[in-house]
């Protein structure tokens, strides 16, 4: 399951979505809004995300398929926020359920790294003084 969501992420619901009796491990990655910017000394008050839905969703599906092919059998959910995300709130969740933990960790790591490099989502830092700046991901 992949999605873009303008509403706060319900992580417990994502875990329920992926977990079955076949799975002995569930790994959850949450990317959360951080107060310190890598590029700017001002404290960050919120992040604002925008997406190109008709490219972002197929790319997220593709990443989920790649994770299943490389590390499966597994079930995976990838959800990214759009709009304003308050400090400390999750902006992205990757949840992987697999028979054993090693592949669940590997698939989760693969999916978040691929998402950050490839998915058509943009992030703006909103500082406490109301100013804003767009921030691009740096290659790992």
């Amino acid at each position: 399951m992949v999605a873009l969501s303008s509403a706060p992420l319900d992580v417990a619901a994502l875990v329920r979505d992926v977990q079955t009796k076949e799975h002995g491990a569930v790994v959850t990655f949450l990317g959360t809004t951080r107060e310190t910017s890598p590029d700017d000394p001002r404290p960050v008050a919120a992040l604002e995300y925008e997406a190109y839905d008709s490219m972002a969703i197929p790319e997220m599906e593709k990443i989920a398929s790649e994770a299943r092919e490389q590390f499966g059998p597994l079930a995976i959910a990838i959800v990214h926020r759009t709009g304003r995300v308050a400090l400390g709130e999750p902006s992205v969740a990757v949840v992987v359920a697999a028979p054993h933990r090693a592949r669940a960790f590997d698939a989760c790591r693969y999916a978040i790294d691929a998402l950050k490099a490839r998915v058509a989502v943009w992030k703006q830092e909103v500082y406490a003084d109301g100013e804003t700046a767009w921030v691009a991901n740096t290659p790992p």
């Binding site: 490219m55 490099a117 998915v119 058509a120 989502v121 691009a136 991901n137």
Partner: protein, 92 residues
């Protein structure tokens, strides 16, 4: 534009989507643009950026998509295409 002489060059109409900083600089998130038939993405970029040094400076980091697929600047556009001007992504 009915008063203009009929041109030998046919026109195409495409939809341009702009994201993040490019959306702010161009002043639109979505706009229909008329181009000469045979125009490329590079030509579209020149038309949109002309005279704006900040936009011109973003060419090297901007990727183009046409109808949901990443494509090169020399790609020829067709009427009805949806073109996206995409700065480096920042998800996560």
């Amino acid at each position: 534009m009915a008063t203009q002489p009929i041109s030998a060059v046919s026109k195409i109409t495409i939809r341009v989507l702009a994201f993040a900083r490019l959306r702010e600089l161009l002043g639109f998130g979505s706009r229909d643009v008329e181009l000469a038939e045979g125009a490329t993405l590079d030509a579209l970029w020149k038309q949109l950026a002309s005279g704006n040094g900040e936009i011109e400076g973003l060419r090297a980091t901007t990727r183009f998509a046409r109808n949901g697929e990443l494509v090169a600047g020399e790609t020829v556009l067709r009427t009805g295409d949806e073109v996206a001007l995409m700065p480096p992504v920042g998800g996560g």
